[in-house]
């Protein structure tokens, strides 16, 4: 589906397309970019975008954004996900950056924003804790004031790519006596501070994306507090709003759907008993994608008329993740007996994988995509949000 673009926007789209085609590093085209790239490799594209001034489409121009219109941002989103470029690290650019320029002090802006844009600092997110799940307000990590420092003790978990991180933004409890949401603060912690330990969590697909982060008597300078003490929940919610807007993943689903069709044509002969099932299932997903894309375009149009989209983000998250899970399921099925094979991690080792190249990541992607309906607020939570905020139940 295409937007009805003005001449200027069409020209912008063409510019974006050719820039990606000419500049996306070949080195980053690996079987599974989310797990196969080293830190330096995954920053290659980030650095190219930084040089071009396109690294932070959402940021206001004064802080280093490109000054794009809503439509231009949407075009950017569409073109990059269609091309399958690795998005810049969301924790840095999409999440903590806007918190810092919205709620941070001038000193914090000057210290952190340029290094986020350049990719010199890699951020990770210290939200989840063991036992907290989608109930973020149940933060137990404690920060106790001691002169010019906070002493932080606690345990963060599911921390994505903490193994690469220079900084972690943390929700910490500064007032244990207040109501859960009232006693939370938003603290920026240097990962090199003594007392910070990262332990890998291996997931069912065999990859190392997430970690436990242990904080033991970590001394954090008071100037690393964002905004006011005990107001962290406001900043955290602001950040989550940004996280959920981008979860429809139309471009990614469209790309993987195209790939699924190719795989089915190559792997499932027309007289295979299941061929008709594949045709039907693929058609259904295609319709789901079309409907979600049309919904997204409708919401974008509403937003550009100044209408608050409300909890549309929850709808995008639910449908976007369900669709992508279904695509990975069918891709895995399409590989037949070769769906039994699972790549060994860390990838890049010279380990034999059977069957055609395009099937080598089918099993791991199916397994890994189970996380989508869990993280960022489980799909059950998203449905609760819609039930309450839209339906008034």
């Amino acid at each position: 589906m295409e937007l009805n673009l003005s001449r200027e926007d069409a020209a912008f789209r063409d510019e974006v397309r050719s820039f990606i085609a000419a500049n996306y590093p070949a080195e980053m085209r690996v079987p599974n970019p989310e797990t196969d790239l080293s830190k330096e490799q995954s920053l290659l594209w980030h650095r190219i975008l930084h040089k071009k001034g396109w690294i932070a489409p959402l940021w206001p121009k004064e802080f280093g954004g490109p000054g794009w219109s809503l439509t231009q941002r949407f075009i950017w989103e569409q073109e990059t996900s269609r091309a399958g470029t690795l998005p810049p690290l969301a924790f840095s650019v999409t999440m903590v950056g806007p918190v810092i320029y919205t709620y941070g002090s001038e000193a914090q802006r000057q210290k952190f924003l340029p290094r986020i844009l350049s990719g010199d600092d890699w951020w990770c997110q210290g939200y989840s804790e063991p036992g907290s799940g989608s109930d973020l307000a149940s933060v137990r990590t404690k920060a106790v004031r001691d002169g010019d420092h906070y002493i932080v003790n606690g345990h963060k978990t599911w921390t994505t790519l903490a193994q690469h991180a220079d900084w972690i933004f943390c929700l910490v409890r500064t007032d244990p006596s207040a109501k859960p949401q009232a006693g939370i603060s938003f603290l920026l912690i240097d990962m090199k501070t003594p007392g910070v330990t990262v332990r890998p969590i291996i997931t069912i697909d065999g990859s190392h994306e997430v970690n436990d982060v242990f904080l033991e008597d970590v001394r954090v300078p008071v100037e690393n507090l964002i905004g006011d003490e005990n107001k962290g929940w406001t900043y955290a919610k602001f950040l989550l709003g940004n996280e959920r807007t981008s979860m429809a993943g139309i471009g990614r689903s469209t790309r993987y759907l195209r790939r699924l069709k190719d795989i089915v044509s190559a792997e499932v002969p027309e007289d295979d008993p299941a061929f008709g099932e594949f045709v039907r299932d693929i058609a259904r997903i295609e319709l789901d994608v079309l409907a979600l894309e049309a919904t997204e375009l409708r919401v974008v149009a509403q937003m550009s008329r100044g209408i608050d989209p409300g909890p549309a983000a929850s709808l995008f998250k639910i449908r976007g993740t369900e669709i992508f899970q279904r695509i990975t399921d069918l891709t895995h099925r399409a590989m037949g007996n070769y769906g039994l094979a699972l790549r060994e991690h860390p990838a890049g080792g010279n380990v034999f994988m059977p069957g055609p190249d395009y099937g080598h990541t089918a099993a791991e992607k199916y397994l890994n995509s189970r996380k989508l309906s869990i993280y960022g607020g489980s799909n059950e939570i998203q449905r609760n949000i819609i039930a309450k905020a839209v339906l008034g139940l």
């Binding site: 969590i201 291996i202 997931t203 069912i204 792997e267 007996n337 039994l340 869990i374």
Partner: protein, 376 residues
């Protein structure tokens, strides 16, 4: 139609349960899976000593004469503990084929070896690009005097890296997809000209791509009638499905009880997860899916044991129903465990991966649903 176990069957089940409880907990299994071989000869020997490796065979071959029922009992318990040792490949597939189709000499020689735990087997039926079609065989077997000469490629042969012997389907006549003309051969895994490329499977086992170039086997290695291999493999697949369904049923029951425990104890927003109605209904659906899977598995097992006609259609039906149930239960067990369900340290993900593999083995739900529809 609930199966009531006889005293002997109950005894068999109890002894498997006891052994696995003592020696095959999740940590023990993890150590076995990450070991260099990826399976445990020590445990295999214990299975042999208990008589498990002959359990489905007739009494004259050291078995209980219980056939499909014994298989169901063992596989269900193995499913509950995620046993990786190749009982299915060696006893159910190879043992079943030899008992059903072997000559007296083949039975004497091979069933005794299997029962004693002395030989490991794998069944090489699939080929690259052939998906789940048993007739789609390009590997050739050419008669040459007292020998057959085998050449071709076999795909995703589970347990092949562990096996001493393979049962290989190869074409002795006809065209690539003809039902007639497929024959089965017993092939020594160390044969000259036979090459393995091993890989790890999603469920912690080992499998291999096999290539054969002029592999010579004696004429006496032919298993069953020449050219009748496809029909023989179809009957073998029915038995295999019975066993895999039983294993899946065992895994599903563990997934459901782990999820239920978690929902009762894990608190969120100040209350147990299990108090949320949306999750209660989900778990009820998981319970129902398991019950249906149990019922069709028992129905199939009894039909296999009585050697009634109509087994093939029922087998495809059971594979479909159990496959969908297993995927549903597996996916929901992970969802309800939240992030913990994604962790390799929790057993939940390992059940999920095993039942995902079971769904693929011998044809997935989509394949068998259509086969169910088109079989009389």
């Amino acid at each position: 139609m609930d199966i009531q176990f006889t005293e002997e069957q109950e005894l068999l089940r109890n002894s498997v349960q006891r052994l696995l409880k003592d020696e095959y907990d999740f940590d023990a299994r993890r150590r076995i899976v990450v070991s260099e071989d990826g399976w445990s000869r020590t445990h295999w020997k214990k299975f042999a000593d208990m008589g498990l490796l002959a359990a489905p065979f007739a009494e004259e071959f050291g078995g209980f004469g219980e056939g499909a029922l014994a298989t169901m009992i063992v596989m269900q318990e193995f499913g509950r503990r995620l046993v990786v040792e190749p009982f299915f490949e060696t006893v159910v597939l190879a043992g079943g084929l030899i008992e059903a189709e072997g000559t007296d000499a083949q039975r004497r020689e091979h069933l005794t070896g299997i029962a004693a735990g002395e030989s490991i087997w794998a069944l090489a039926w699939a080929e690259p690009g052939a998906r789940y079609d048993l007739n789609n065989v390009s590997t050739t077997a050419r008669r040459s005097g007292d020998h057959y000469i085998l050449s071709g490629a076999k795909a995703a042969v589970i347990g092949a890296p562990w096996a001493d012997r393979l049962i290989v389907s190869a074409r002795t006549s006809g065209d690539r997809r003809d039902r007639q003309g497929v024959s089965l051969f017993i092939v020594d895994r160390q044969s000259a000209g036979l090459h393995l490329q091993s890989f790890k499977t999603i469920d912690g086992r080992r499998a291999a791509e096999i290539t054969m170039k002029d592999v010579q086997v004696p004429a006496a290695a032919l298993l069953g009638g020449e050219g009748e291999g496809a029909a023989i493999l179809e009957a073998c697949r029915d038995r295999a499905i019975g066993a895999l369904c039983a294993e899946a049923v065992g895994a599903m029951s563990e997934l459901n009880s782990a999820t239920l425990d978690y929902a009762k104890t894990r608190k969120q927003f100040g209350v147990a997860l299990g108090t949320f109605q949306v999750l209660q209904h989900r778990m009820v659906d998981m319970f129902i899916a398991h019950q249906e899977a149990v019922s069709l598995t028992q129905h199939l097992t009894l039909t296999l044991a009585s050697k009634d006609s109509g087994t093939t259609k029922l087998a495809s039906g059971a594979k479909t129903k159990v496959g969908y149930a297993a995927r549903f239960i597996g996916e929901q067990a992970i969802q309800l465990h939240g992030g913990m369900g994604m962790s390799d340290e929790l057993v939940v993900g390992h059940y999920f991966k095993r039942i995902g593999a079971i769904d693929i083995q011998f044809g997935d739900s989509a394949f068998h649903l259509m086969r169910f529809a088109h079989t009389n």
